[in-house]
Amino acid sequence: MEMTLYDCEQCQTRSVPPRYVCPKCAGSGLTAIQADGAGTIYSCTTIYVAPERLAAEAPYAIILVDLDEGPRVTARLAQGIPKIGQRVVFNRYEDGVYWFE
């Protein structure tokens, strides 16, 4: 599925998620682009003790993904136990959360 990333009009830095300003130069002109959303897990964890609002979902996997198309993004792995170096692909952006599979 296509994933929306953001290119800074001023310094060309690519970032995700949507923000108020560019994380590098603080420029406010950010253009949405469509990307494939494929990437590699840089690191990960499985959380057993969750905050109150997510207690029912635990244990769940948090992954830090290096996208082939640029930025690094914190996301959830839909299922399974994540491993460093594992290839993953974007599935959906829902309620402010990036989901990969």
Partner: protein
């Protein structure tokens, strides 16, 4: 800038307490004022993070000034998540060094154990940038340091047992500290087998939920334990924005400032309290403070270099892991331990210690302070 000294120290026992936020803070302040000889105080600096969320209590600075009979002096609360105490100390120090006040009372306090773990976890998450996908995705602070630990082990060849060695060392030190939360001995095997909080961090690799307070009196002049340097820096509040996940840049920056001010280097420090909110964080901290090269702290803990008889004894109080981590109090409690080390009156005394360092951290490296003290 004028010379500044720590002239009094006080702290409560850390752990589960029946007391309120106010009564904990008062007990630590009274002891600090008494040991300082009851000087006239110019201002109160309180470090506190979750008073509003967990204890339903703000304006703690003003409450303390009144209850301690200090008169209508200025009082503030400083918030910097787990670095609230270190930041409160630094602000008080700067004001005295600049000549605005001659003395100040610095107190750190937190009341946490009355709330359920899930509620505390949620409250602690307010130290993330929650207007971001990271907070929404369910990342927690143990989770963040779990992600760091997995990459650290992958990159440098460390094992989970090295995290356990940090926990074991700090527990061993806490056994001799009457103020510590956990004084029961533990074995490496118990630590390794404990239930997982967030992979690879088990229960003993994580600092506990704690009630407690610590306080110091600081004053202009050289008549106490000298404050030789104060460094502070900020870093990215989001995990995905950290350029090198295995370096806490704010610690490096704050340490560089502090070493330059003190005219000393990491090799000159005799004893240190570092922010071991998780066992992983102690390994990163001793690297980023320059005690050991990046990627080698796991070998240092294995070789016994972080304890008595090694290169630098670290967290002789038991650290956050075993002394306990009442969030706002931690940074001040570290300074209390270093001051006592330099007075020659500490638990787990390091013989002949002349220079000591205290390093406090907030969030995912969002805040860091480093202070250096001398006798």
């Amino acid at each position: 800038m004028r010379a500044v000294s720590v002239t009094g120290t006080g702290m409560t026992r850390f752990g589960r307490q029946g007391d309120t936020l106010k009564s904990l803070a008062l007990a630590a302040c009274r002891e600090a004022l008494r040991t300082a000889g009851h000087p006239r105080i110019g201002a109160v600096y309180a470090g506190n993070f979750l008073g509003g969320q967990l204890a339903g209590q703000e304006i703690i600075g003003s409450i303390l000034a009144k209850e301690l009979g200090l008169g209508p002096i200025p009082a503030v609360k400083m918030e910097g998540a787990c670095a609230s105490g270190g930041i409160a100390f630094r602000q008080a120090y700067l004001m005295i060094a600049a000549g605005v006040y001659d003395t100040a009372l610095v107190v750190g306090v937190e009341k946490m154990t009355h709330a359920a773990a899930s509620i505390v976890t949620e409250a602690l998450n307010s130290a993330m940038d929650n207007d971001s996908s990271e907070g929404m995705s369910g990342l927690t602070f143990p989770g963040f340091f779990g992600v760091v630990a997995n990459r650290y082990m992958h990159e440098f060849g460390a094992g989970r047992e090295h995290l356990s060695m940090v926990a074991l060392k700090n527990r061993s030190y806490a056994q001799h500290n009457p103020h510590a939360q956990f004084r029961k001995p533990a074995t490496l095997d118990e630590i390794q087998q404990a239930r997982l909080i967030t992979d690879p961090l088990g229960l003993y690799h994580c600092s506990p939920i704690t009630d407690g307070a610590a306080a110091v009196v600081i004053a202009a002049g050289a008549g106490g334990i000298r404050v030789l340097a104060s460094g502070q820096a900020s870093g990215p509040p989001l995990m995905q924005d950290i350029p090198d996940l295995l370096t806490i840049e704010a610690i490096r920056q704050a340490a560089q400032q502090a070493y330059a001010q003190a005219g000393a280097g990491p090799e000159d420090i005799d004893v240190a309290e570092v922010h071991d909110c998780f066992a992983m964080t102690e390994l990163l901290a001793v690297e980023d403070l320059g005690f050991f090269a990046k990627g080698t702290a796991w070998q240092a803990i294995e070789a016994g270099k972080l304890q008595h008889g090694g290169e630098i004894p670290v967290n002789t109080s038991g650290g956050l892991l075993s002394r306990g981590h009442p969030i706002g109090a931690t940074g001040v409690a570290q300074i209390v331990q270093i001051a006592k080390q330099l007075q020659g009156q500490a638990v787990n005394q390091v013989e002949g210690a002349r220079l000591g360092l205290a390093q406090n951290l907030g969030g995912t490296g969002a805040y860091a302070t480093v202070h250096i003290f001398g006798k």
